[in-house]
Amino acid sequence: MEFKRKADVTAGIPTASLPDIVFMLLIFFMVSTVFKESSGLPVVLPDARKIEKLQGKRNIAVIWADRSGNISIDDRLVEVNSIRNLVYNKVADPLHPMKLVSLRIDKEVKMGNVTDIQEELREVGGTALNINYSTRTAAD
């Protein structure tokens, strides 16, 4: 009896579901991508150890303050006493109400200026009282 030669089995990776997998990843990145909206001021952030990570970017307002006393919100240089109105508008925004203010302050700024900003935020009240001092992670 003659043995039949085994038919050549083509071993291929099934690629039928490849687009599905790729699309799933694609959708994940599309949803999580936030295009950079503001570049802010050049600041050197202070270091800290016990830091917390902030959740999401959409509900955060960023206030920049550099060592020469400039203050910037949303890529515009502003005066200290106009922070009140700008932040109030963000808190009252019906679509993305602001939940937290991130302060990106240069480490050489004097506390007087920092307090002025904080006093403005206290004038607004509500969610503007939640602040975060942006820092870098300190190397041990």
Binding site: L18, P19, L45, R49, I60, N130
Partner: protein, 132 residues
Amino acid sequence: MALEKRKKEVEIPTSSLADIAFLLLVFFLVTTTVDVDKGLSLVLPEKGQETKVRQKNIASLLINAGGQIMLNEEPVELRQIKDRVRLMLQENPLLILSVKTDRNTRYDVYVDVIDQLKQANAPRISIAEPES
């Protein structure tokens, strides 16, 4: 001669679908910036809200313009604050740490002090208005 009519199957070619999807995927991978905002979170006191606190429940931290720190009227090194505050909190868990700065204090010293308090797990940190 009989013409054989063949039914053609109409199909959208899907072989390049994966390529297109990969291209888009790479684009979003490259443009995604994952710089998470991180730092020390605090809640500012509300305006005009003054609560009377018993003196024994308050520990004051003063930072002067030169970056020197006083904890309850005695000078203290920055690195000692964490342990000192931890001991004080063991004695009195209701302790409020009141941080007071000078208008000329540097911001990084202030952040360092807040960081020390956070490391000591101080639950209540209060920011006093600086002296001008």
